[in-house]
Amino acid sequence: MRRSKLALVSAVALAALLAGCTGGAAPGAESSAGATKNTLTLAMSADITGWDPSNQPGYQGWGPEAIWDSLIKCDAFGKPEADIADKWTVSADGKSFTAHIREGQKFSDGTPVDSAAVAASFQYLTSHGGSQGDYKGLKTDAPDAQNITLTWPEAQPMIINRVCNPKITTKALLDSGKVNDKPVGSGPYVLDETATTRGSVYTFTKNESHWNTAAYPYKKLVLKVIESETARVSALKTGQVDGSLITAASYNEVEASGLNVVTMQGQTTRLLLTDHLGKEVPALGSLKVRQAINMVFDRDAMVKNLYQGHGKPAYQIFRPGSDAYIDGMADPYPFDVTKAKALMAEAGYASGFDLSLPTMAGQNHETLMPYVTQQLGLLGIKVKQVPLSGANAIDDLLSGTYPVVLWQLGNFGQSLLDIDIVVRSTGYWNLEHQPDATVDGLWKKILTGDEATRKTAQQDINKYVIEQAWFAPMVNPDGFYAHSPDVKIDHVSDHEALTPKLRDFK
């Protein structure tokens, strides 16, 4: 009798747990856009980085996009679009941006969106966050509530980018110092704190008084933090989420499940050969050595075999369609190991040299590094892989300790950003920061020239770094965004081409 009671207890316990298994709607139905078109539920592979407006990365930035407007927005190629401002001009000297703020907009706390708020939001960036250098010395002049002029001490070739990034919030919130407690913005959605658990689920309701409500068709936005790709794919397949980033590893499974996939090419796998003067590795000071390195990679085979066809061979570091990109350029360094060896011999490095290449998680190094090591080995270049991990890994990487790095580095729709970050001696991805008169001269043209001159100068920089073999571009790998067929994504506005923007979900 007692034994049967024990068994009964076990059965009841399991039954209680499984009680919810039967009946009712399918899981996630209430939050599935596919079911009602009222709610858009997106998975995020990482949590939102709090509510400080100065610390909002664009990658998977749907939460910040929902809450905050910007003075203007940037399109996929960094061109300006209206947002809080409905009209704007850039001064001829490239130092000032004057905007007219559309009337009748309000923040989520009910206060008006005016020039004082815009000025405070920009001034906040001069002393907070990681972009303080971009706003150093910024002056704001607000003659009235609807007009404002932002003026930098020097010409800003990327002034549009500087203006479209900052999130606009209230002066009162910034002055309070409690920016992380509760966000205040005038964006298309408002955070629903009662249905939000930080680190897990963020719920937003539509701001019906937003100036551009038509661009955001969903009444509710739910963001779920799901780190594991396996879990994200499961959530997609079961309708718990309407969209998620995936990798090539899940591509076939997702497609076979009847889900749609948007392909983006926001990265270029490349070797950065930054010791142009040969100070750290003397051989790299030789142009012939850098050109030889470019010739030992069979880019077509890399796409086919290392990326399973999910990518395109890359001969330039810039994004196709960007100002610096040169259309129709043939492969400047076709795959030719014999010629590469001859160049090495001519440079006096027939027997090669030693090279340390750092490796890090998340860079596809486990796939790429064996091939790169093997191909460089054909030139006698002996690669020593140095694993970097932990909090200091990025600092180590950028420290200049490693003059050559294999990286899937982003390329921007606005190629000036690539030039600023990767090519110029001050750029943090120009690891050795070695000065170069040609690049500096072309950058001066960018600073002072008109639009046509700037575009020509950017293409000249592109030609120059190709001729000088500062990089060994290999592949533009595909990035994937999977989504329910009920959600339409016809266009990706992200100038980093890494994720669709919130306004792209229709």
Partner: protein
């Protein structure tokens, strides 16, 4: 008995200090990297250095640890370096998720493993061999395989349970039950298999004792012998097994929370450790140690109550 308890308490405090200091030491020395990660790659070196100071990461190890310990004693565990969220607030929403998983799994483990262990030991023969095979299989299959099979079967193929996510009981009790069912099952298989094998051994050991033979010789019913004498005398080793199982479940929860995207402590620890979010890591470590110590303390207490010989130590 009181002396034993006081000794245990003192030992627990020492463990707490040693482990938290060791964790702090492991994360020490990454100030620049943390500050750059907080600010982004674009940050100027001077801004990075300012952030290092703002976060207090420029201080010597002992000073940083002392500040953390002093604040922790007052209940202030600080704020996340990255999100600014209060560690206490983060833990208050995440600890219940993990504890729910562990406690439900533990209760089911007790019931099922005792049932299986006793049945295998008492019945013997093919029942014993079958249950041994099943327990070995349950122990051998990694829980992530079990989790994937469960998700595929119940969430994707049959669509009766959610693949991911957590619903609090305040919002919906049935939703909560649905959201924890698969994670609990994923944890349960290994826990039951392991504990059942241990219980079987303990029961077999007890069954072979002279006093059991004597009880049987006196004509006392087998059911009385099993439930009154064998189970009671096997409880000591069983408690040790359950204590270890609880600790194992805490570790297993880290993985299960990842697979099922549950906002628990394991997920928080994993996220925080990846980016060296020191306050969050220390908060999760502290809570985990306290749970471990409480479990050990309760285990010792129960053993002391059940076994008078244990009080002499």
């Amino acid at each position: 008995m009181m002396l034993t308890l006081l000794k245990n308490l003192a030992r627990s405090l020492a463990v707490l200090l040693v482990v938290t200091f060791a964790t702090f030491t492991l994360m020490f020395g990454n100030g620049d990297g943390i500050a750059r990660a907080v600010l982004g790659l674009n940050a100027r070196p001077e801004d990075v250095q300012r952030e290092v100071v703002t976060l207090g990461l420029d201080q010597p190890l002992l000073v940083q640890y002392w500040h953390w310990l002093r604040d922790a004693v007052t209940g202030d565990l600080g704020e996340s370096f990255y999100t600014g969220q209060s560690v206490t607030e983060a833990l208050s929403s995440r600890v219940p998720v993990t504890l729910a998983l562990v406690i439900i799994t533990l209760l089911l483990t007790v019931v099922l493993s005792v049932l299986l262990g006793v049945t295998a030991a008492v019945k013997g023969g093919w029942v014993d061999r079958l249950l041994q095979f099943v327990t070995v299989l349950g122990t051998a299959i990694p829980s992530f395989i079990i989790a994937i099979v469960l998700v595929f079967t119940f969430a994707i193929a049959w669509r009766v349970l959610p693949a991911t996510g957590y619903v609090t009981p305040e919002i919906s009790v049935s939703g909560w039950a649905k959201s924890v069912t698969l994670p609990v099952l994923a944890l349960l298989v290994g826990a039951v298999a392991s504990a059942a094998a241990q219980f079987r051994t303990a029961v077999l050991d007890t069954l072979g004792r002279d006093y059991i033979r004597t009880l049987r010789a006196r004509g006392i019913s087998e059911r009385h012998v099993i439930f009154r004498h064998v189970l009671r005398n096997s409880a000591g080793p069983g408690l040790t097994v359950l204590s270890l199982t609880t600790l194992g479940l805490l570790g297993g929860a880290v993985f299960v929370e990842q697979v099922f995207a549950l906002p628990g402590m394991g997920q928080l620890a994993n996220q925080s450790a990846q980016v060296n979010d020191v306050p969050m890591v220390m908060g999760t470590v502290l809570v985990t140690i306290v749970i471990v110590l409480v479990v050990n303390f309760l285990g010792d207490l129960a053993t002391t109550v059940l076994n008078p010989k244990a009080r002499i130590r």
